[in-house]
Amino acid sequence: MELTLSSIVIQALHGLVYGMLLFLVASGLTLVFGMMDVLNIAHAAFYMLGAYIGSTILLVTGSFWLALILAPICVGLLGALVERFFLRKVHVHGHAFELLITFGVFFVVGEVVKWIWGNFPRSMDPPGILSGSLHWMGMTYPAYRFFILVISSLVLLGLGYVFLKTRLGLAVRAAVSDASMVNALGINVPRLFLGVFSGGTALAGLAGVVAGPFLSTYPGMGLDMMVDTFVVVVVGGFGSLLGAFVASLMIGELQSFGVLFIPRLALVFQFLLMAIVLITRPTGLFGEKV
């Protein structure tokens, strides 16, 4: 494939699209870990659920936009149930059991998806207006990918605003820093945890709906996303949102260009990056000493 400026830009955009999607999912994971000290292994399962539920809503109602709104809400509710009835119950037994229960949830969700929707990929068509291409400066770019970019940017900007400029965001940031102190200040910490957990899963669900038509909706998408988000966390640094952002984009671009130049290594780029980071900068790009 010839290396023209426009082809480089397009590849870079591809990488950006996946990177943003990845960050959408990884941010929820990082936030929950930073605040509750729980690595939610099931997080990517909610991403997958979002895609599948979204595909069904699309099938039933014919409206992609309805799916985009309803699916994350469904997933968020499920996330709330998991936090309230599983995570909280197991909290007393320590971190190991929290990990085990989220792992169990990941596994069961995977099986539920296969049971309800079948063990094969599912088609999910983007709405008409988004299925064409955009033309700009002589370059052609798929409209749907551009849509992903737009929507993830909007979501992230919205989140950033809530995080940095609202009282709720302040409470969350404080809780990430010192949850027991926040509790002492009278803020209902369990409810805050529930909210952040649920919000994080809803975000993952949204990413799932958005990713459905793009990456295709298939039973292994949960695992694939889980691994990528884990690599993001390692590369970016545990508990750092900025790190997660930078790492997500890095991985997106790495996969985009890497597949082009060394297709042999297609499945393993992120692992190689992870290994390099572990050797040279073990705490991740923006992480603190663990």
Binding site: A96, G104, E111, V227
Partner: protein, 323 residues
Amino acid sequence: MSRSIFLRGVLLAGVALLLLAAPRVLSIVQTRMLTEIAYFALFAVSYNFLFGWAGLLSFGHAAYFGLGAYVTAISLKHVAGLHLLAGMGLGGLAAALGGAVIGFFCVRRKGSYFALLTLAFNQFLWAIAWKWREVTGGDDGIGRIIPRKPVDMGFFYLDLTKIPNKYYFTMAVVVIFLAIGWYLLRTPFGNTIQVVKVNEERAAFLGYNVNRSKLLIFTLAAFYAGIAGSLFALFQDFVATSAIGLGMSTEVLFMAFLGGTGSYFGPMLGAAIFVYFTDWISSITEHWEFFLGVLFIILVLYFHRGFIGLIPSKVRAVFAAGE
């Protein structure tokens, strides 16, 4: 002789007799199942080296099982004249090496990070197995591993194409390794591992090198898993990416917790229950994995001591690790 040692001896003798007689009394299918239980028991016990002994929760233990399986398969298939035991040894060694390298990166991190890394490295190895078709056969796998002619074992010839022979060979290897593991738990090394688990900080201030201890047990657990993997390869006469994937890591984790990670025998019981249960339930419904997952969640929520925890403590005390 104290009563508990006597009871233990009687039970062990009884079990030994049953195991020896098994292929003669049981059907071929049942003998096969027992063989499966044997190497899975070894695999599950190796998992418990990490969790039960050292307090390390791994989600990627199949990496070493798979390494053992693949290396044994590849070496037996492609190295002319390689002895069966040498092939197994290479598998175990490869697994131990993998454990040492991966363990080096994993053990110096705390709980969640450790778990995450084990999973990531597992997927890494799986991806390599999937992609490296020339060596691993990709998703087609490697078949026809067992030597078709009887193997010279010194005192006798071993024909692994017959089920009863597979059974006895697997049982013998498993029993030997399990016995060694039981012994190791009672050595100063075994104590060091537990000391680090009970109070890592104090252990360090008492002069224990925490990272090195963890790395050592990680490598040992990987080695044991690799041996289990090589037995698996020989039994199935086939190795594919399923041996090294997250599914296998999940299975061994389920087995260990099903049986109970608080005792040496727990994981063995877990392996037996798992093999029987999945065999039974998969004949009833195709969605058996869903029920397995639900069972696991119930276990974590309500019975985190596993099935062994259901045995009355007086009975358990008879077999408990004495000092």
